[in-house]
C-alpha cells in the first residue's frame, strides 16, 4: 500500500459522480454505483419513516394506559413500523446499497451482469414503496407485519390490500437483485479472482442472493392468496369458508424466516471485511466463514416452523423444527469465533468501522444466544409472542443488520463519496447507538419473561418500569442514528478528500480511486492472491 502517508488534496478529476450530470443522468443511469446511491437515498427515507413510528410506539408505552394513541392507531403504528422496516429498509439495506456498490468492484468487474435490470429493480422497489405509502396515507394497516389470517383476509378494515400489493411488487426487486448478483459472481470475476479469493462480503452476498431468488416468490404467492381470499372470498385460510389459517403461517414463514437471513447474512459479510481491515489481517478460517454463510442460507429454509410452536402444528413437527433451528445456530457460532480469533495478533484500529464491528459482535452475540432460548420448544411456549421475542429479533435485525450496515457505510463512505467524515462525531455516534440499543432492548427480555405480550397498546402497570427504560434507550438510539445522517451529508460536500485507501486496507475496491471511475478500473485488475493478505512488510515500507 502506498497511499497512507501523503494526504490527498483533491478528488480525482474524473469519477462516477461527475462524469455525467443532471437529474436524467441519475434516473436513467445503469451504473451500479449510482443505483446504489439511489437505493441509499430511498431506504434512508424509509428508515426514518419507520423510525418515526418506532418513536411513536415508545412514547405510547410510557404509561400503562397508553400515553398517546387509541388502540386502533397504535395497532396501525406498530404494523407500519414493521412493514416499512422489514420490507422497505432491512431486506434491501445492505445488498441494494453496499452490495450494489461493492460487489462488482470487489471482483474486479466493470458493472453488474445486467445493469438495466439493476435499474429496473430500483424502480420496482420505488413502485412498491409508493403502494406502502399509499396504504399509510389511505388510513394505515393494522394487521401486524405478519398479516396473519383470518384477521388480515376477513376481519381487518384497514388498507391490507394496498400494503400487500406494495410487498408483492417490492419482492420482485429483491429477486432481480439476487439474480443479478448470482450471475455477476459466476461470470464477471476478474482474471485470477477464483472462488476462494473472493472477499467474504461477496460470499455473503452470494448466499443472500440464493435466498432472495428462492424464497421471495413464496411471499408473493402468500400475499396473492391472501388477496384472493379478501377480495373474492375464496376459502384458502379462513376455516369458515373452508380454509386453514395455519397454512398461511407455513407459507408466510417459509419466506419470512429465510428473510431474516436475507437481512443478517450481508451484515455478517460486512463484519468480516471490517474485522479484517480493522485488524489488518486475513479472516481466521476463511473457508469456514464462507461455507457457514451457505450453510445458514440452506438450513435457514428448514426452520420456519419454529415460529409456530403454539400455532397448532403437531408436536412432532415442533420437535423437528426445534432441532433444525439448533443446527442453524452452529454456523453463526462458528462465524463469531472466527471473527474473535481474527483479532488475535492483529493490528487493531479503533476507527469508527471497527467500533461498529465490535458493537455488532456484542449485539449479535446476545441476539443469537437468546435465539437458543426460543428454539428450546418447552421454553418457547412461555416466551413466544412476548417482549422476549421482540427483544431477540431486534438484537438480530437492528443490533446485527443495522450495526453492520452503519459500520459498512462508515467503512466504504470514503470510497463512495471520496471524502472523510468527522471521526470524533462518528465514534461518538457508534457508542451512542450501542449504548442506546442495549438500554432499549435489554429490559424487554425481562418484561417478556415476566409475561408482557407483544402488540399491546396498554399493559398491566407492573411492566411500566421496563417500558420507561426502553423509551429512554430509544431516545439515545434515535440521536445515534440522526448524527450520521447529518455528518455524512455534511461530509459529502465539505469532507476532506479521502484518497484511494484511507484505512490502509486490502481489496480491489481500495486499488481504484475514491470515488471510482464509472467503469471502476482504468484497466481490468489481475488478481494474484487471496483476500486481505497483509503482512508483506517489504511492500508496506514503500511509501
Amino acid at each position: 500500500m502506498t497511499t497512507t502517508a501523503a494526504a490527498p488534496t483533491a478528488l480525482p478529476a474524473r469519477h462516477y459522480l461527475n462524469e455525467q450530470e443532471g437529474v436524467k443522468s441519475w434516473l436513467l443511469t445503469t451504473d451500479h454505483k449510482r443505483i446504489a446511491l439511489l437505493y441509499l437515498f430511498s431506504i434512508t427515507a424509509f428508515f426514518f419513516l419507520g423510525g418515526f413510528f418506532a418513536l411513536l410506539i415508545r412514547l405510547q408505552l410510557l404509561t400503562p394506559t397508553g400515553a398517546l394513541m387509541d388502540s386502533d392507531t397504535y395497532n396501525k403504528v406498530f404494523t407500519m413500523h414493521g412493514v416499512i422496516m422489514v420490507f422497505f429498509f432491512l431486506i434491501p439495506s445492505i445488498p441494494a446499497t453496499l452490495g450494489n456498490f461493492l460487489l462488482p468492484i470487489m471482483i474486479g468487474a466493470k458493472d453488474l451482469a445486467f445493469p438495466k435490470i439493476n435499474l429496473l429493480s430500483w424502480y420496482i422497489y420505488v413502485l412498491g414503496g409508493l403502494f406502502a405509502l399509499a396504504a399509510l396515507i389511505g388510513g394505515g394497516v393494522d394487521t401486524g407485519w405478519t398479516f396473519y389470517t383470518p384477521y388480515s383476509s376477513m376481519s381487518s378494515n384497514s388498507r391490507v390490500l394496498t400494503a400487500g400489493v406494495g410487498i408483492f411488487i417490492t419482492g420482485f426487486s429483491s429477486i432481480l437483485t439476487g439474480l443479478n448478483f448470482i450471475v455477476t459472481t459466476h461470470r464477471m470475476r476478474a482474471p485470477g479472482m477464483t472462488w476462494f479469493r473472493l472477499p467474504l462480503f461477496v460470499w455473503a452476498q452470494y448466499a443472500t442472493s440464493l435466498i432472495m431468488v428462492l424464497g421471495t416468490p413464496v411471499i408473493a404467492i402468500t400475499v396473492l392468496l391472501m388477496a384472493f381470499e379478501r377480495v373474492l372470498r375464496v376459502g384458502i385460510f379462513d376455516p369458515s369458508i373452508g380454509g386453514d389459517p395455519v397454512l398461511f403461517q407455513h407459507l408466510f414463514w417459509f419466506y419470512s424466516h429465510p428473510a431474516v437471513y436475507i437481512m443478517v447474512l450481508p451484515g455478517m459479510g460486512v463484519i468480516s471485511e471490517l474485522i479484517a481491515s480493522g485488524a489488518r489481517k486475513n479472516v481466521f478460517g476463511y473457508s469456514f466463514v464462507a461455507f457457514s454463510s451457505l450453510a445458514i442460507a440452506i438450513i435457514g429454509f428448514l426452520v420456519w416452523g419454529h415460529h409456530m410452536f403454539v400455532a397448532g402444528q403437531t408436536a412432532y413437527a415442533g420437535l423437528v423444527f426445534s432441532i433444525i433451528t439448533y443446527l442453524v445456530g452452529v454456523p453463526s457460532a462458528v462465524k463469531t469465533f472466527n471473527w474473535t480469533a481474527t483479532l488475535y495478533k492483529g493490528s487493531i484500529s479503533y476507527d469508527t468501522p471497527t467500533l461498529y464491528a465490535f458493537g455488532f459482535i456484542g449485539l449479535f452475540l446476545i441476539g443469537g444466544l437468546t435465539g437458543l432460548f426460543l428454539a428450546a420448544i418447552g421454553l418457547d411456549i412461555h416466551l413466544t409472542d412476548t417482549y422476549f421475542v421482540v427483544a431477540h429479533f431486534h438484537y438480530i435485525m437492528v443490533g446485527g443488520t443495522l450495526m453492520a450496515y452503519l459500520g459498512g457505510l462508515h467503512f466504504w463512505w470514503p470510497k463512495i463519496s471520496g471524502r472523510l467524515y468527522p471521526d470524533a462525531w462518528a465514534r461518538l455516534s457508534a457508542v451512542l447507538v450501542f449504548a442506546g440499543f442495549n438500554l432499549t432492548f435489554l429490559p424487554q427480555f425481562v418484561a417478556g419473561y415476566i409475561g408482557m405480550p407483544r402488540r399491546y397498546a396498554m399493559y398491566p402497570p407492573e411492566f411500566q418500569v421496563y417500558n420507561i427504560l426502553s423509551t429512554a434507550g430509544a431516545t439515545i438510539l434515535g440521536a445515534g442514528y440522526l448524527f450520521p445522517m447529518i455528518y455524512l451529508t455534511w461530509s459529502w460536500f465539505y469532507g476532506k478528500p479521502a484518497g484511494d485507501n484511507p484505512w490502509g486496507s486490502k481489496g480491489l475496491e481500495w486499488e481504484t480511486t475514491s470515488p471510482p471511475p464509472t467503469f471502476n478500473f482504468d484497466t481490468t485488475p489481475i488478481v494474484t492472491e487471496a483476500t486481505h493478505q497483509y503482512g508483506h512488510h517489504e511492500e508496506v515500507k514503500v511509501v
Binding site: 400455532a311 483479532l343 428454539a375 428450546a376 490502509g504
Partner: protein, 333 residues
C-alpha cells in the same frame, strides 16, 4: 398482585419451575459464552491495538483443530438444549388423564369459559388448586392465544379447530390471563384473571350453581331443540347413527375410511355433515352452520360424551371403554 417492580414471574404451576430451570440453564450457558467472547474481543483489542499507522497483523490462516472444537462444542450444547427443551415440552403437552376439562372460546375481544358443571365466565376463570386442569379452546373469529404467564403455558385458539393446554396450579391467588396472538383493535384489552381456589372454596363457588344445569344438561336441551334427537336415537332405529359411546370409538365411513371420533369430528359432523358420512347411512343431515354457536357445539359434544356407552350400536363399533373418552383436540384434517 405481583410486587411493583417484578424481575421474575411468579411460579404458580407444577411445571413453572421446570420451565424456569431450563431458562436458568440457558441463561448460564449463554451468559458464559457471551462473557467469553466479550472478554476475548476486549482483551485482543487492547493487547493488539495498532501502535503504528503502517503496522500489519500476523498472517494466520486458521486452524482445523480450533474450527472442529468450536463447531463441535456448540453442537453438543445445542443438542443438550434441544433434548431438555423437548422433555419440558412433552410435560407441557401431555395432559394427565384425570384432568378436569374447562372449555374456552375466544372472540374479539373476550375469553368465554365454560365449566362442565355449567358455570360460564367471561375473562375470569376459577379453578381449584393442585388439580390438573385441561382447557380445550377454539375461536369464533380470528386467531387468539390463551396465555397464563404464571403457569408458563399458552396455546393458540384457532377458528374451526380445537386446541388445548393444561396446568396444575400450585398456589391460590389471582394471576394474569393474556391474549398473546394479535387479534385486532382491543387485543390488549383481551385480558383477564385466573383465580386459583382451595378445593373447598372451589366447591362452594361451583355450588353457587348455574341456571340451566350442567353443560351436558344444556347440551341435552339443545339436542332436543335442534331436533337432533329425531334421527340420532339411542335404539339404533333412527335415520342417523347412534351417538352413545361415540367419542373415542372407531367410526367406519361410507368411503371406506375409519377414524377415531373426537370433539373435532363431532363439530365437523354438525357443521358439515356430508364431509364424513358413517357407513350404512344416507347423507341426509342438514348443516347447522350459522345456527349453532361454538359454545353450543361444546355443550352438544359434552352431552354426547355423557350418554351411557352401554347402548352403543351401529354408529361406533369400538368404544369398548365404559367411560366416555375425552375429546382429543387436534387437526380437523
Amino acid at each position: 398482585m405481583a410486587p411493583s417492580i417484578p424481575i421474575f414471574p411468579e411460579q404458580a404451576s407444577t411445571l413453572a419451575s421446570r420451565v424456569d430451570n431450563l431458562y436458568f440453564f440457558m441463561l448460564a450457558t449463554s451468559g458464559f459464552f457471551a462473557v467469553l467472547v466479550t472478554v476475548l474481543v476486549v482483551f485482543f483489542a487492547i493487547k493488539y491495538r495498532r501502535r503504528h499507522p503502517d503496522e500489519h497483523g500476523e498472517p494466520i490462516h486458521g486452524s482445523l483443530a480450533l474450527e472442529l472444537i468450536w463447531t463441535g462444542i456448540p453442537f453438543i450444547i445445542a443438542m443438550v438444549m434441544f433434548v431438555w427443551g423437548a422433555s419440558v415440552y412433552f410435560a407441557l403437552v401431555r395432559v394427565p388423564e384425570q384432568a378436569l376439562d374447562v372449555y374456552a372460546v375466544g372472540k374479539q375481544w373476550m375469553w368465554k369459559f365454560q365449566h362442565r358443571e355449567g358455570q360460564r365466565e367471561i375473562n375470569e376463570l376459577h379453578v381449584p388448586v393442585n388439580t390438573p386442569i385441561r382447557v380445550i379452546m377454539t375461536s369464533e373469529d380470528v386467531l387468539h392465544d390463551l396465555f397464563f404467564p404464571a403457569f408458563r403455558t399458552k396455546m393458540d385458539a384457532l377458528p374451526g379447530r380445537y386446541t388445548q393446554l393444561w396446568f396444575t396450579a400450585t398456589k391460590t391467588g389471582t394471576f394474569h390471563i393474556f391474549c398473546a396472538e394479535y387479534c385486532g383493535t382491543r387485543h390488549s384489552g383481551m385480558i383477564g384473571h385466573v383465580t386459583v381456589m382451595t378445593q373447598a372454596d372451589y366447591e362452594n363457588w361451583l355450588g353457587g350453581g348455574s341456571a340451566g344445569g350442567s353443560l351436558a344438561d344444556k347440551g341435552q336441551q339443545l339436542f332436543s331443540q335442534f331436533a337432533c334427537i329425531t334421527c340420532h336415537r339411542s335404539d339404533a332405529q333412527g335415520r342417523g347413527p347412534v351417538l352413545n359411546g361415540l367419542l373415542g370409538s372407531t367410526v367406519h365411513l361410507a368411503n371406506g375410511n375409519t377414524l377415531t371420533a373426537d370433539a373435532a369430528y363431532v363439530r365437523e359432523s354438525i357443521l358439515n355433515p356430508t364431509a364424513k358420512v358413517v357407513t350404512g347411512f344416507q347423507p341426509i343431515m342438514p348443516t347447522f352452520q350459522g345456527q349453532v354457536t361454538e359454545e353450543q357445539i361444546l355443550a352438544l359434544t359434552e352431552y354426547i360424551k355423557s350418554l351411557p356407552a352401554a347402548a352403543a350400536g351401529s354408529g361406533g363399533t369400538g368404544g369398548a371403554g365404559a367411560s366416555p373418552a375425552p375429546p382429543t383436540p387436534g387437526p380437523t384434517k
